[in-house]
């Protein structure tokens, strides 16, 4: 399946992300002839273990993330970042989780925005908002290269593309820049051949970054 790099917006120190930046970024994509195709939306949920005995808290992973991706409507992904575990499950697992009451969903976030086609690339620019508010928490961008599936083989092309992208964005003099963090997929047991599990891992990493930057 086509491979994807997930970039997130890193605001400059002392600034916060706002919708103005989002619209500027969208304009950037259009300025390089990205053809707007439609909307996209993925959902990320924080789960917290429900324990009767609080002393056992330490034994359970604190951050259990669940992700539902637009391109895989029948699947649901779990990531335990501290344990480097990623799991692909059927989407009905959410129902099971609710019934089991072992983990409760604490916070849900939407990653949503517009999708653009650019030659062999597909770009998704999206805002990060909590489910029940319009508070903009962050901006992400998915850069997807359609023809091949090998992360290794595509690295050069993706880097070149991101360079061009960074150049385009920097011309707008926005207070911040896009960053790409390459997760160590091997630690999660993932191979060079790209899958949605790779995407899930990237989202988990980006989420951690967003939290960290909000705290600072």
């Amino acid at each position: 399946m086509p491979l994807k790099w997930l970039l997130h917006w890193q605001p400059n120190a002392g600034t916060t992300v706002n919708s103005q930046i989002l619209s500027e970024v969208s304009q950037c994509v259009e300025s390089i002839n990205g053809a707007k195709e439609g909307r996209w939306k993925s959902t990320l949920t924080f789960y917290r273990p429900v324990l009767r005995d609080q002393t056992l808290q330490a034994e359970y992973p604190r951050d259990c993330l669940g992700i539902s991706l637009q391109e895989q409507p029948n699947k649901y992904y779990f990531i335990l970042r501290s344990q480097r575990i990623v799991l692909e499950a059927d989407s009905t697992i959410q129902m099971i989780m609710e019934k089991l009451q072992s983990y409760k969903s604490r916070v849900s976030l939407y990653f949503e925005g517009f999708q653009y086609q650019l030659g062999d690339f597909q770009l998704r620019v999206g805002k990060v908002v909590p489910t029940h508010s319009e508070n903009l928490r962050g901006i992400v961008m998915e850069v997807e290269y359609l023809p091949i599936s090998s992360l290794d083989k595509s690295r050069q092309i993706m880097e070149d593309f991101v360079d061009i992208w960074q150049e385009t964005v920097s011309k707008r003099s926005l207070p911040g820049h896009f960053m790409h963090i390459e997760p160590n997929f091997a630690e999660y047991g993932l191979s060079d051949h790209y899958t949605s599990q790779h995407t899930a891992v990237q989202y988990a990493i980006v989420m951690a970054q967003l939290i960290a930057s909000v705290r600072n």
Binding site: M1, I32, N33, P147, I148, F161
Partner: protein
């Protein structure tokens, strides 16, 4: 049917031209036949007149000689009578032709049948139907156009496939195409160094074996013609599971060490398609013609995730990068065929084996259209 337009012309005839008045009431084909006949008559009469003139001259010549009898005088008198008759006949025929519009067809354009009478063209050619000549002229013109177009197409193709025959530096292609604000930076055609290696591979299995050693990551499968089409249709955009399954399916070897994707044993002389698969990078299809030979006749590149009946050696990928790659590959193929047909297949496969640099050396420009620079040998 009454031939109305001819009537005004016919009315100018003299009473002894009733014959031609009658003929104007007939259908054009009959008129044409009559006219042709009369033209023949006229030609014969003219020949007779010429002959008569020759005889007269001869008679005069003899008469000029001294000591002649009255013979030349008789000759001349006889000949004169004959000539006069011929000329009268000729005049009559001429008048008939004139009336039927043969000689005046350029003037009498209001022919209700839309047909012109036999036309005596300025260059002396007799055309039964003037419109035939027009059609012939049109056909001639379109033939000229067609030839011009064909020549242009040929020159374009030649420039495209044999750039090294042009006067510019060999191997450089401009690569600039018109597109919706897409500029391709000039992709360098592979800078090939021509290795003077004596090729020992004369058969397909030998060639493939040698190539297999060079690119261990590349999987080579061979197919009979129809078997490839079946496989192409069976290819679907692969999920992880499909990918693993299909790679297991095709990984069985036949006794002559050719990995065949065809179902059942396939002898080397039936192989019409060679598939080169580098997982996660590309899938290339080369067709051989005739089957079983080592002469490649087409090549195309596709994404390994693509599937469908359009995946064949003359098909085009949906992705730009593989379309570019196919164009380069086709040029390379033509180039290799131009050098030496026997080694063309090996050279092409060897060139494809240098794919490692495929996605690493890329040159890209602002509007994000990547032209891939394929590394050479």
């Amino acid at each position: 049917m009454q031939q109305q337009p001819q009537a005004p012309v016919a009315s100018a005839t003299q009473p002894d031209q009733l014959e031609s008045c009658e003929t104007t009431a007939e259908a054009p084909p009959k008129q044409v036949a009559l006219a042709m006949e009369r033209l023949g008559q006229a030609a014969r009469l003219i020949a007779d007149v010429r002959l008569g003139a020759d005889r007269l001259l001869e008679a005069l010549f003899i008469a000029a000689q001294p000591h002649q009898s009255n013979k030349p005088l008789h000759l001349i008198v006889n000949e004169e009578a004959t000539m006069r008759q011929h000329l009268q006949d000729l005049r009559a025929v001429g008048r008939q032709l004139e009336e039927s519009g043969v000689l005046n067809s350029l003037r009498s354009r209001n022919n209700s049948w839309g047909l012109h009478m036999p036309l005596v063209c300025p260059d002396g050619a007799v055309v039964a139907y003037a419109w035939k000549r027009q059609l012939a002229g049109q056909a001639g013109a379109s033939a000229v156009d067609r030839t011009r177009l064909a020549l242009k197409a040929f020159t374009d193709q030649r420039r495209r496939f044999f750039p090294h025959l042009e006067d510019e530096s060999s191997g450089q292609t401009s690569g600039v195409e018109s597109g919706v604000s897409k500029k391709h930076c000039s992709s360098q055609a592979s800078t090939l160094t021509h290795k003077e290696e004596p090729s020992e591979e004369k058969t397909l299995p030998e060639v493939l074996l040698r190539v297999e050693k060079e690119a261990p990551n590349m999987r080579i499968f061979t197919y009979q013609h129809l078997d490839w089409l079946k496989r192409a249709s069976a290819l679907s955009s692969s999920t992880n599971e499909n990918f693993i399954e299909s790679s297991k399916e095709n990984n069985f070897q036949t006794s002559n060490r050719l990995r065949t994707g065809s179902l059942g044993p396939v002898s080397a002389d039936q192989i019409a398609a060679v598939e080169l698969l580098v997982p996660s990078v590309f899938r290339a299809i080369i067709s051989l013609h005739p089957a079983g030979s080592i002469e490649p006749d087409a090549v195309a590149f596709f994404s390994p995730d693509e599937g469908g009946s359009y995946i064949h050696s003359r098909g085009f990928s949906v992705y730009h990068v593989f379309r570019h790659l196919t164009e380069h590959a086709v040029k390379a193929l033509q180039f290799f065929l131009g050098i030496n047909t026997d080694t063309a297949l090996y050279n092409l496969l060897h060139w494809i084996c240098s794919y490692e640099t495929l996605f690493t050396k890329s040159c890209c420009i602002f509007n994000c259209c990547f032209a891939v620079n394929v590394g050479g040998f």
